[in-house]
């Protein structure tokens, strides 16, 4: 296996981008990453595109070819292989992992990993239905299980077992909005209060509207190359120290413990083993906070806090920039928004910006090691990556 580095990264603005189509955002991200990497179009060997549900959101499948076609003539002129990767909300993380494996194995040298989702071309109930397809349609969906509903059941169980409170859940959203204020790509750049979260409308009790990540359009891309040639393109390559992926039962009800995402536990454990690091070494982590409870479970399941302590840690400020471990300095899915297929790549972009020291007012000081954590469904898939600015 060859060491791998990221030499370019680009995230579009996330939000309700009514003037932009799926292909518009994907192309902007792809071209942005290529320019940031300073590579020529003819050097690119392959691309992987994370996209959860083009079919349901915009009636478009065959996303790999579509994006390659419209991004810098990669299909029409160079005919490079382009592969769409799908694992619900972890589609982006898996696309990145495919790109890393393609380069690490020696199969390709210069590979783009992109992610894109266009979610606002259908109405809210349509979005709810498309996202519910990430769960078990035959046995969860048919009983009226929505995505917030599944995470709400995780939250209720976590509260029952560990005494986690609604205020602790809310503190996750408050912190992520505080970070998002300083992120130019974030959908929401406003501060919120715990009281506002607790007074927002009920979505799936105990989760309220401001416990949930929003519906978002957006795309992101990175360029991956062998570490040995990275300095040819940039003075600040970001090295991939670990790439891992784990699976769990598709249904939440089948899990060993409702409040633990074993896919996160295993992907995290394997990533730390691969990088020869421990949670103490990590300077910041971008976790998959599709709901506030998801961030609390993530920081526990990845080993940053012991099981049951995540709510307290969040409320006490341990996860703020400057706290014990900065969690979601980008603003996370809550403030940046969650264009599902793009999120895993956007997390990697944030790692790149932070490790290059380019994150402005949300910069984690002296960051050397970053982790990203991308979850599909209610936890049936998890991708974890560790990055560093040192080889």
């Amino acid at each position: 296996m060859r060491d791998v580095a990221i030499i370019g990264a680009y995230t579009t603005v996330f939000g309700e981008l009514w003037e932009k189509s799926l292909r518009d955002t994907a192309v902007e991200a792809g071209v942005g990453a290529i320019e940031d990497a300073n590579v020529a179009g003819e050097e690119i060997d392959a691309m992987y595109v994370g996209n959860m549900s083009g079919g349901k959101f915009v009636g478009q499948e065959h996303i790999g070819a579509l994006v390659a076609d419209y991004a810098a003539g990669l299909a029409r002129e160079f005919h490079i292989p382009s592969t769409r990767v799908e694992a619900a909300c972890a589609s982006g993380g898996l696309a990145l992992r495919q790109a890393i494996m393609a380069v690490s194995s020696g199969f390709h040298d210069v590979v783009i990993a992109a992610g894109a989702e266009k979610m606002t071309d259908i109405d809210g109930t349509g979005v709810t239905d498309a996202l519910a397809a990430a769960a078990d349609r035959e046995w969860e969906g048919i009983m009226g299980a929505t995505f917030p509903g599944l995470y709400a059941m995780i939250a209720r169980y976590h509260m029952h077992k560990y005494g986690t409170t609604s205020e602790q859940l809310a503190s996750v959203a408050v912190k992520n909005h505080d970070n998002g204020v300083h992120n130019p790509i974030a959908q929401f750049r406003n501060k919120i209060t715990i009281d506002q979260v607790l007074r927002s409308s009920k979505v799936a009790d105990p989760l309220r509207l401001l416990d949930c990540s929003p519906v978002t359009d957006g795309a992101a891309a990175v360029v991956v190359v062998p570490a040995d040639i990275a300095k040819k393109y940039t003075d600040t390559p970001i090295y991939v120290k670990a790439s891992s992926q784990a699976s769990d039962t598709i249904s939440l009800d089948d899990r060993r413990d409702i409040a633990t995402l074993d896919a996160s536990v295993f992907a995290g454990k394997w990533a730390f083993e691969m990088a020869k690091l421990t949670p103490k070494d990590i300077d910041f982590v971008e976790v998959h906070d599709c709901f506030t409870i998801a961030e609390i479970c993530a920081i526990e399941d990845l080993g940053f806090f012991k099981k049951g302590d995540g709510g307290r840690a969040s409320y006490d400020g341990d996860t703020r920039i400057g706290g014990k471990i900065a969690v979601n300095p980008s603003g996370g899915l809550k403030a940046c928004g969650h264009p599902v297929g793009a999120t895993g790549i956007k997390q990697a972009c944030e790692a790149v910006y932070q490790l290059r020291g380019e994150a402005g007012k949300r910069q984690v000081p002296n960051a050397k090691y970053a982790m990203t954590h991308n979850v599909g469904g209610s936890g049936a898939t998890c991708a974890v990556h560790i990055f560093s600015n040192e080889r």
């Binding site: 109930t125 709810t128 239905d129 009983m143 009226g144 917030p148 799936a204 009790d205």
Partner: protein, 130 residues
């Protein structure tokens, strides 16, 4: 939903029939044709669950997909059946009246329908049985 897609799962949905592995003694709902613990050496056969269990966790759903909009707010729950497996279901009761640990029993209920002239889906929900 096309009629065959619902029809082929009727046994499990109407009558709470799952499977059981004779080798390891574990029960599965919904039915699994391969035991995830014994894999190819398992011996799977149908199993009729009694339909009694307790609430592991639940949520009161206020925002749903279109198919369930007329039911909101409704109680979505994970119920642990006495034989072992957990099932995602609805609890037919007042949202204020339930708590984790409540005993429940299965009832046959309408799940939904395909518009006014389409097929009507039935299946198993639960009621409080303390």
């Amino acid at each position: 939903m096309p009629v065959p897609r619902f029809w082929r799962e009727q046994k499990g949905r109407y009558n709470l029939i799952g499977t059981y592995c004779k080798k390891c003694g574990k029960h599965f709902y919904p039915a699994r044709s391969i035991c995830p613990f014994c894999r190819r050496s398992g011996e799977i056969e149908d199993f009729q669950f009694k339909g009694k269990g307790e609430i592991v966790t639940y949520s009161v759903i206020h925002a749903s997909s279109e198919d369930f909009d007329h039911l909101t707010p409704y109680i979505l729950a994970i119920v642990k059946l006495d034989e072992g497996p957990c099932i995602t279901t609805q609890i037919v009761d007042e949202p204020t009246d339930i708590k984790i640990g409540d005993r429940v029993k299965a009832v046959f209920r309408r799940l939904g329908s395909d518009g006014k002239a389409g097929i009507i889906y039935y299946g198993t929900k639960f009621v409080i049985d303390n």
